[in-house]
């Protein structure tokens, strides 16, 4: 790294996220990439409900705060009426994979030309750590106190795999933010997704594996190890769809 300066797109104050929360790292990465692309004044952040809504006080650029799970629907409207804008939805796993499942799948299937940043921390962080669709098998939450049992609650939902089966999306990728390499890859992935959007290539989806020290009841450093041994083996990082490469 030659040089690093904190982006002016995020407030000059600590974020509202808990100490060690990789959500704030995800937000910072997005702001860094937008600034690098020179799109600071042209970007629009569609903020959903959940911990991602803490961005309302933290995000310095234009944003839209929308109903639970409906960020892709709102982003569709904004992008269609302002095609020159860099539009992205910033959603968590409870928002995107549970209540907003219809919106995300429909927007992806239509190949809408915006980006979705999906922060997956395998729990409902904001409401107190309930089970999310992405909660791992055996993971304890306040609604699965003996650990998630697939017999009654099903299996963790793999959104990248689901969306990559659709015809329309241009870029679908997953990255883990628990190591410097993962963060660098994620930054490159977010940049690629935004560039594809600016070229009008269609729907781009970037999943970022994050943690929740508060609701996993761990220290921030313990969550990084937990992600290595539990999260990453199930939610495998990688590029799931890239129409540019597939064509070549």
């Amino acid at each position: 790294m030659a040089e690093y300066k904190r982006s002016t797109l995020i407030a000059d104050s600590p974020s509202g996220y808990c100490p060690g929360c990789l959500h704030s790292l995800a937000t910072r990465l997005v702001s860094d990439v937008i600034e690098e692309l020179g799109q600071g004044d042209n970007s629009l952040n569609v903020i959903s409900v959940g911990c991602s809504a803490l961005n309302i006080l933290y995000w310095g650029g234009d944003f839209l705060s929308v109903a639970h799970g409906r960020a892709p629907a709102a982003a569709t409207g904004v992008k269609r009426t302002n095609p020159e804008r860099l539009v992205f939805a910033y959603q968590g796993d409870g928002d995107l994979a549970a209540i907003g499942l219809a919106e995300i799948m429909s927007a992806a299937n239509r190949g809408e030309n915006f980006t979705v940043i999906f922060a997956n921390n395998q729990t409902y962080g904001m409401t107190g750590g309930q089970m999310a669709p992405t909660t791992l098998i055996g993971q304890k939450t306040t609604t699965t106190v003996y650990g998630r049992d697939p017999a009654t609650t099903g299996y963790p939902m793999k959104m990248c795999e689901l969306i990559s089966t659709l015809e329309a999306p241009a870029y679908v990728a997953r990255f883990a933010l628990n190591s410097p390499k993962g963060v660098r890859d994620a930054r490159a992935g977010i940049k690629k997704a935004f560039q594809l959007q600016m070229q009008g290539k269609g729907f781009t989806f970037v999943e970022l594996l994050t943690n929740c020290p508060t609701n996993w009841h761990m220290t921030p450093l313990q969550t990084l190890d937990y992600m290595n041994t539990n999260t990453i083996p199930y939610f495998k990082p990688g590029v799931y769809k890239d129409t540019e490469v597939d064509k070549a």
């Binding site: 690093y4 790292l25 910072r28 990084l224």
Partner: protein, 70 residues
């Protein structure tokens, strides 16, 4: 050499864990929010790799351009 903005630090210790030269450690002073922020124990050994800045969730660590901090 890195610059730490202690005002933004939340004491997650990611920078301390990932520093390849092991020259960051949690200090003994707290910031206004009550978090112990990191200090550089041996500035001479810093190779300006920026891994601490990469991992800091809050962007509290900045890496000035070469020569700017001389």
């Amino acid at each position: 050499m890195i610059q730490i903005n202690e005002r933004l630090c939340k004491d997650c210790k990611y920078c301390v864990k990932f520093c390849p030269k092991q020259i960051l450690e949690t200090g003994t002073k707290r910031n206004a929010r009550g978090h112990f922020y990191p200090v550089v124990t041996d500035p001479e050994k810093c190779i300006s790799c920026g891994i601490c800045a990469t991992m800091c969730p809050e962007g509290a660590i900045e890496l000035p351009a070469k020569g700017a901090d001389a």
